[in-house]
Amino acid sequence: MSETTTRRLRKSAHLVATGPRRLRVGLLILTSLLGVCSLGPWWTADPSAILDPRVAALLPPGSSRIVVERRDGSTLAAESVRHEGDVVVAIRGGVAERLEAGEITAIRETSYWLGTDTLGRDVLARLLHGGRVSLAVGALALFVALFVGVAVGMAAGLAGRTIDGVLMRLVDALLAVPMLFLLILLAALFRPSVFTLVAVLGFSSWMGVARLVRGQVLSLKSRDFVLGARAIGAGPLRIAVIHLLPNVTTPLAQDAALRLGDLILIEAALSFLGLGVQPPLASWGGMVAQGEELVMGGWWVSLFPGACIAATVVAAALIADGLGDLARAQRHP
């Protein structure tokens, strides 16, 4: 790592610490979401565990049920359980059911702080696991979009008019195709999986990045430091990576922050259409889509993941704002 980079990093860290409050608040929200979602699942229940849908489905937040584990590996949920000699009486759905004590291996109580979904799965557990998936998918797709976008934007900005024209017409064309219907056809074309989801999301949102980078490159490439580098024989790749890239980081970071929010929203829209991650895997978008049908009978299924998506977008927007403020402060110290 070169000395200038180190210095720049240290300067950035200092700016974050003393700089715009928006940036700090945004980073705080995003890191806490990331922290809770990456660490939380170690403590929560199995997000895919179907204990007993007939008794545990769509329980409101704060409910709890007694879970009876049986020797054959199956589980039962009950409102209450009492022992009567060799027999355990479980009240399930208001009906008493007698179970042999010998076939029971464990009886425990489970609390559902955020309620359960249609199959009686723990919403809290799914929310945390789903956060991992959604944030990871969003981040990976963002990475794909940035990578492709920066590469195309640099190429268009540095190469001649012809290549620039071809690439930019391609960008225009992709931006012009209605996104939603592009996604439907792509989903029909490829087998849905986390991998394709990332690829589809990434490849459908790099165009904005490419436009941004190209614009920056065009305005930078006649500056002295680039001309100087070219004069001493630096190749285009070297110029792009060493000289231009560091100078586009601020607008790029600002754009990326907003884009992360967008990607998570698109993932939600894809799940709304049933084209998101595959079950039983949870994702915020998938949970929102699942809950959409139940708004009247189970608002908790969609509201919590919806709030998490909103929080991520808010954090991303705050970070973008903060980065803008930071840049403004640097321009007018």
């Binding site: 391609l170 064309a173 012009a176 792509l186 929203l265 708004v295 509201l303 919806g306 909103a310 705050l318």
Partner: protein, 320 residues
């Protein structure tokens, strides 16, 4: 100017062709065709083959593409495979509905956004500014359908103030004149609010940033020094300049006027382009999909050109 227009038209033509080709390839390569859905209703393969033959799906891809391109160039978008009517007729039904909703939504989002931003800048970093920042951020961040459902539950299902769906009530459908217009206006409120709320947040956030930049510029400072009030300085001097990029934004959102938002249209049972194109994609109605995509692309081309023209008109530094 004429050369500029010619160059733009040529580039637009290339763009249209590119998009059309891309779409045609995608919809043709995606598994399933318009006759596939017949199999779920246990309709015999003979009938399914007949459909494929009638729609030319038994011909090679290249020949299908060539004949579509040929008729499109001669101005014939063909007949929809699912509506049994000319594509233009289906589009002519859906686009006005979408455009009505989107244009009112756009107006609301600009008006609301400007109002919020100006209110914030009366005292930047003050209490009002912070409060509005939270409001606009939330509006911007909430998933659209949550906003839509929230509005529906409050104003329609609980308070019964406003109708929940469609452009007209059954009575309005048969009414004429003012009664029909009033019915339409009542039906517009919630969907327009939904479109407006999300966009309002974005516009307000954007404007606040650029106005903050502008108010430190020399000409605004000078205006204030001449004794202009803060509001006047903002309104008559800073705002027009800060609005410049907004023109681009409006130009770029022109496609939205014809492509629509599926989520909003589904939640409000709004028969616009979003739903029409979604159904066409699911049913593999190739002529309708192609027609809709062409119109959307045309809107992009025109929107970009208009944005550039408008920009040039208000900013003398830019020439087209």
């Amino acid at each position: 100017m004429a050369r500029w227009a010619l160059r733009r038209a040529a580039a637009g033509g290339v763009l249209l062709w590119l998009v059309a080709t891309l779409t045609f390839a995608l919809v043709s390569l995606a598994p399933g065709d318009v006759a596939s859905r017949l199999s779920d209703a246990r309709i015999s393969p003979a009938v399914r083959e007949r459909w494929r033959h009638d729609f030319g799906l038994d011909r090679p891809l290249a020949s299908r593409y060539a004949s579509w391109l040929g008729s499109a160039l001669s101005g014939d978008l063909g007949s929809s495979w699912t509506h049994h009517r000319p594509v233009t007729a289906v589009l002519a039904e859906s686009i006005p509905n979408t455009a009505l909703l989107a244009s009112l939504g756009l107006l609301l989002e600009i008006a609301g956004g400007v109002a919020f931003a100006l209110a914030q800048l009366r005292r930047p970093h003050g209490t009002a500014d912070r409060f509005i920042t939270v409001v606009t951020l939330t509006a911007y961040a909430l998933p659209t359908f949550l906003v839509a459902l929230g509005l529906l539950y409050v104003f329609s299902y609980s308070l019964h103030w406003l109708p929940s769906s469609h452009l007209l009530s059954p009575a309005g459908e048969l009414a004429t004149g003012w009664a029909k217009t009033r019915d339409l206006l009542a039906h517009l409120v919630l969907p327009v609010l939904t479109v407006g709320i999300a966009g309002m947040g974005a516009v307000a956030r954007y404007l606040r940033g650029s106005l903050l930049d502008e108010r430190t510029q020399g000409y605004v400072v000078a205006a204030r020094a001449r004794g202009c009030s803060e509001t006047r300085a903002l309104l008559t001097h800073a705002l027009p300049n800060a609005m410049l990029p907004l023109i681009t934004m409006i130009g770029l959102s022109l496609p939205f006027l014809v492509s629509g938002s599926l989520v909003i249209e589904v939640v409000f049972s709004w028969p616009g382009m979003g739903q029409a194109m979604y159904a066409a994609a699911l049913a593999r109605d190739v002529p309708l999909l192609m027609g809709g995509t062409l119109v959307a692309t045309l809107a992009v081309v025109v929107g970009n050109a208009l944005a550039d023209l408008a920009y040039a008109a208000v900013d003398p530094r830019v020439r087209v």
